[in-house]
Each structure stands twice: as structure tokens, then as C-alpha cells.
Amino acid sequence: MTESIKTGAAVGEPVAASPAPTAFLEVRDLRVHFPTDDGLVKSVDGLSFSLEKGKTLGIVGESGSGKSVTSLGIMGLHTAGQYGKRKAQISGEIWLDGTELLSADPDHVRRLRGREMAMIFQDPLSALHPYYTIGRQIVEAYRVHHDVDKKTARRRAIEMLDRVGIPQPDKRVDNYPHEFSGGMRQRAMIAMSLVNNPELLIADEPTTALDVTVQAQILDLIRDLQKEFGSAVIIITHDLGVVAELSDDILVMYGGRCVERGPAEKVFYEPRHPYTWGLLGSMPRLDRDQQERLIPVKGSPPSLINVPSGCAFNPRCPYADVPKDNITRTVRPELTEVGGRHWAACHMTQEQRERIWTEEIAPKL
């Protein structure tokens, strides 16, 4: 944490031991570890970010980078209803609108879930209960937080279904999830999560399980609803195209940590971390020349039990030997500011990274 204090108290940068955050959502040094037979899995290991109302943060990374674990951590779903001995170990601070969630009473956090913060999941078919009608599930979500009779709640459910673009909502409200198409199910899921006007909406890979033709519609819907409700939105995805369209800020995760964070246009047009370059290189684009191939990130995601020493990305990084004295393999790089509100964690100097980006990477994209 000392490092981050040094690097600045600019907007969004975590400041240790200051209990009154100004941001709507502020996550400080979040760590989520899971004890297993093979060792401690450090799914999230020191993550900090903040988010204002009405803004959208895109969290990007490959499978196992800790994106979903982070979102479940904010929702308090690592501890709620987790039975058995092996509980997730969570530390750090999560401030939501002035309340620190990790130290708060679990029942208080439960009452915030669904009302203050809501979540949309990846696969709406498995995320909706197969035995209950769409209407019943939305009504349930509404009545948990509002003391109203079933009729009122049902009207509200129909109104929400209508709002998310489901035709004939007064009829469809009595359908079961299996009677909906994939896109409709995700719309219903969004209706359910927005029924209580939450101020924070977390969308965990909201379009991954959907047809490509439907993906754009769902993203448009999320954007429209955000404008209408003014909520803060976190979009979690491995698809840079998704965040490019929606996000104000982008946070790139690797091995449970943030490797680059900044305004979307900065991360896209002036990325300062080799992993982000890799992500951009492996994104298919129509305007790319046919002869040119995708540039994949070589190797596989790091083990979260034995995280590589030094920079977690070093075994896969083509530039690991650019910094001197083998430092990439011994010292873990901290996030340093590389521009206005733009941070990256890399041992290469600013000049080295700028040169590699403009001369070697950008021309190939």
C-alpha cells in the first residue's frame, strides 16, 4: 500500500487508512483467497478501484483472472450461504455509498443485495429457477425489499418486463424461463435485477452465453437503462469489444491483480502494459488485413496457488528481459501512473513502453 500512497491521491487511486471515501463504490486492497487441498488459491490478491454513480467500469481479463470472484465479493456472495468448513478468506475494504461491506452485519449486507446492488449473470437459463415463472421470480425480488401486496408487485414486474423490451409483458410474465429465448431470458434477468432501482449493477459476462445478434441489443439495453436509472455499472467480460462500447473506465486483471487501469480511450489507444497489448492483438477485427493473423497471448493463465514471482505475467511476456537485472522475475511491479488517471504495473520504463507500443505493436493491430 505504501507504493500506492506515493504514486498519488488522484481520483480513483486508493488511499490507505482513510475511512471516508468520496466515491460511490470504492474497493481497497481486496483479497479473496480459497483454501483447497492443493494450497491457497489467491483468486483476487490486492485489488483496488473506485466507481462513481452513472459511470461504467469494465473489468477485463481471461478466465481465472479473478473478475467474477471480485464481483461476487462485492455482492457478499462468498460468505452468504456458504456451508461447510472451507470458507473463502476475504480481506480489504469494500465501501458502497459510505458503508463498508466486509465488516458490516451480514444481514445488513443481505438487505443491500438486490436493492442497492444487483447482479446479472452469464447464463440466464441456469441463473433463473426452472420451476418458477419469470413473473414470480421478479415479484419475489421486489417483495423482499418492498412491503407491497402481490398484485402491486406483479404490476411492477410487468412494467419492468415492458421496460426491457419484452413483447406482451402481461402474458409473458406467466411464462417459465424455458419458454423464453436466450436473449429474452437475459432481458428478464435484467428486469429482475433492476426491479428495485439498484444504484450499483454488476453484469458478469452478460452477453457471453447469447447469440451474437442478440449481444448488441443487450448491451444497448444496459446502456439505456444505465442512463435512465443513473446507476453505477460494472461490466465483467473477457471481450474487449463489449467494454469498448460501454465503459468509461477499463480495469485489466491478470492473475488476481490489476495490471492496467484508466479511461477507456487511453487503455485502448495508449495501452501501457504488455498483457493489454496481447488482449488487443487477440481481438478479431474486420478492418484487419486478411493475411495478418491474430496475435495470441502465448502460454496459459498463471497458477493462482503458485503465482509466478515478480511480475505474474513474466513467463508469457515477450518483453520480460527488457528491464535490467532480472527484476521482472524477482520484484512484483506496482501500479504507477502513466498518464492522467491511467495506471499500469510494469517494470519497463515509460519510454520503453511508448516506443514498443508505437513501433512494434500498434502498426500490427
Binding site: 461447510g84 443481505r110 443485495r113 441463473a127 433463473l128 423482499v144 417459465y176 424455458h178 429482475m192 435485477s193
Partner: protein, 333 residues
Amino acid sequence: MLAYLIRRLLAVVIMVLVVLLATFTVFYMLPKWAGQDIAVLFAGKATGAEQVEGIRTKLGLDEPLLVQFWEFVKGIPMGRTFANGNDVTECPAPCFGYSFVTEEPVWDTLKDAMPVTLALAAGACVLWLAAGVATGVVSALKRGSVWDRGAMIAALGGVSLPIFFTGMVAMGIFVHSLGWVHVEDSLSTDDSIGVWFETLLLPWIVLALLNAAMYARLTRATMLDVLGEDYIRTARAKGLGERVVITQHALRSAMTPILTVFGLDIGVLLGGAVLTESTFNLPGLGLAAVQAISSKDLPVILGVTLFAALAIAVANLVVDLLYAVIDPRVRLG
């Protein structure tokens, strides 16, 4: 839904007819193949050749098998008259055959035995469902705890111990040593509810213990599966309390596999809990079957088999219909 119901009912009728044909063939042809004269079996050993021929004519055993089968099926709704000259025996509808060992229609034997088996099954299944499911749910929620391990070891014991052992031990302790329970030698519909209750109490518990153990393990495994489902996470993400998540979201899904096994178990049980009834000397279908087998009373064996098959078929039909009630996705099929 109606088409579904009709289709299922039709399937039950066909299944029962197939079972009937198969058992009928086995019971009437097997002795012949084994070189035994079925008329001799019916008549008993110490009878003359003339009497044997008389019985053969009276029961129609000289007719081809298909004719005999048809007469049997026809007898169920219409009743039958067995006659050989002046020797006439009436078997009123529903006629499931006539036993020459007990000298009464098979239906009378079944009719007397059914209430006992029904009462035994009804009481036991309520007990084992309640105990088994509750234990299983608590075990799943406290996975890995002392309670969970203890319950699962106890359940393993419950599954492993045969009913004639637990039954004997229970009788020895509670009836003979402590004298807490007074047991009647036999039960009839004339006896009071109190007598039935007291006589059936130990059989209920012993039978329930065996099944509860199995249901506890099944419920635990199913609950653990369901608790890992995405929609359970969704339910929590909505801010629902844990009690609602468990009872309304998890348990409802967990009921489907439990119901499947329950349908089979109750069907088998209604056909006669042979071991329990023998151990406790309860005059139910199981005991009737055992007695019929030891006295080679073919018509009664056939009758009990038929009834058992019918019980299983009906229980499965009810389960299938309940599926449709529980799981809306089944209603499409």
C-alpha cells in the same frame, strides 16, 4: 396435460396386461414344463386320479393357455363360475381366481390383507420421508461437520441392517423386555384404531428407519448438487434470506429425484412388505404371499403378483403426474 394423462393411463393398462400375461404363463406353464401336473398341485397329493380329472375340468385346465388367460381376465370384471357337473364354485367379481388351499376366492384373501399393508406403508412412508429428508437437508447444510458425519454413519448403519434383525431387536426390547408396546397376534378391520396403531408402531419405525437412512443420503447428495446451481446464487443475489433460499429454491428442486425413488419404494411396499410383515407377523399382502408360496397356492401367488405390479404401475403414474406439477418443463412432453 389431458393428452399426457391419457397417454400415461394407457401405458399403465398395457403394462399391467403384459405383467398379467407373463405371470400367468409362468405360473401355469412352468409346472407343466417341469413335468408336474397342475391339477395335481391344486388337488393336493392324496387324491385319486378321478378327482384330479374333475378339478382339471372344473378349473378349465384342459383348455389352451390363451383361452384360460381370457377366462381369467374376463373374470376380473365379470366374476366366474367354476363347474364340473354338480360341483359348482362361485367366484364373484372381481374374481382373481379361486384358491383350493384356503377354499375361498383369491380376492377375499387380498381384500383382508390389503388394509394391513396399506396402513403399514402409509405410516412408515410419512415417518421416513420426514426423518430422511430433514436429516439429509441438515447434513448438506452442515457438510463436513460432526453432525453430518454422525448422521451419515448412522444412515450407513440403517441401510446395512436387515429388517429382520432390527425388527427382532426392537420386538425383544420394547415388547418382551420393557413391555412398553402391546402387540396383537393378528389384525382385522374390526379392531380399533388404537390396536392398529400400537401393533403397527414398531413395524412403522423399523421400516421407516431403513428407508429414512437411504433418503437421508439421497437428500444430502441432491441438496449439495442443487446448492451449487446458478439459480441458488441468483436467489441470494436478490437478497433473499437463507431460509427462503433453502426451502423455496433449493428444496423444491431437490424434491424431483427424491420423488422418483419414493414412487418406486411406495409401489414395491404396497405390493407387500414381505420381510417386515413376516418379522412382525402382520397379516398383509407380503405375509399372504409367503404363506401362498409355502403351500404352493398358485392362484394366490398370481393374485398378489398382479396386485403388486398394479401398485407399482399406479405409484409410478402418480409420480409422473407429480413431476408435471413440480417441474413445468415436463408439461411440454
